[in-house]
Amino acid sequence: MAIDGALIAGLQAQVGVEHVELLGEISAELIGRYAAAVGESNPLYSDAAYARSRGYADVVAPPNLLAAVINWGPGAPYDRLRDDGTEAEKHLPGVPSHGVRVMGGGEEMTFTRPVVAGAVVTRSTVLAEVGERSGTQGPMLVLRYSDHYRDGAGAVLMESVRTVLLR
């Protein structure tokens, strides 16, 4: 599929449609592994006693953990993976799984509340905007997705606006 009228119409039909996904519980193990992978030494992310001394119920996730996890489920069977090793995109509503090149164009994250181990997190994703741009290698679409991550009580933990380029 190329950048054509049908693709643009399909994307525009998705604008404003909310997609809600239960991501699950943010475990201390996930937080610890993420912090270790980044090279963090902040005990807030790994030492529950220290975190409690700072007023938190348990260890706290580094700021961009929620945005960084690519797949919150077990993963697809091997015969359903694409050539690049990824699954058909679930987090880009409206974007076809084949035929277009997807590139990241930046992300704006707002950290509203700390993400403490044990939080059960839900993500809502909305395609907010579809723009067209002519690039050096032909037409390009500029998509903006708005994500809200909420805890079990519905309080927003983090907001993210992702810019995604399609070519």
């Binding site: 090279g39 945005a67 690519i70 993963g75 992300e107 707002t110 950290f111």
Partner: protein, 155 residues
């Protein structure tokens, strides 16, 4: 620079904060992919990366973001908080590259006992100085840090 050294540095518009240098590695990039369940071959399969036009496997865009977030939270210290971070990856970094992060204070707004500081961040490749990421962050710190004990150097 340690958090305590950060907390002694002046907080003035135009000030350049101390730089942070982070050597990445293929092990780190693998662990980051594992922790985030990122199965994209561009991060672990050199043959695939070469076929895509890169010399070797790449640092994940979110790992760039994590390093910038760490820079901000280290600077904010225990009493500070990262409010927002917006970033744009402009050039790739190979796993194994050393990444250097530095920030300039572009705005300071006082709100009671807290201050909101805007940092303009740049992450460059150690190998050639090319800019990988530009970013802007909003960080909240105790207003007392503005007054500055500013001239203090490392303990």
């Amino acid at each position: 620079m340690s958090a305590s050294e950060h907390e002694r540095a002046p907080v003035d518009v135009g000030s350049t904060l101390a730089a942070m240098s982070q050597a990445t590695s293929k092990v780190q990039v693998f662990r980051y992919s594992a922790a985030t369940w990122n199965t994209h071959r561009i991060h672990y399969d050199k043959d695939y990366a070469v076929a895509e036009g890169y010399p070797d496997v790449l640092v994940q865009s979110h790992l760039h973001g994590a390093l910038l977030a760490r820079y901000c939270t280290d600077w904010a210290g225990e009493e500070g908080r990262l409010i927002s971070l917006g970033l744009r990856v402009r050039r790739f970094a190979l796993a194994g590259e050393t990444l250097n992060v530095v920030a300039v204070i572009s705005a300071v707004a006082l709100a009671g006992e807290r201050a909101r500081v805007t940092l303009d961040l740049t992450e460059t490749r150690g190998s050639d100085g090319e800019v990988c990421v530009t970013a802007s962050a909003s960080v909240e710190i105790p207003a007392g840090r503005l007054a500055g004990d500013a001239g203090g150097g490392p303990a």
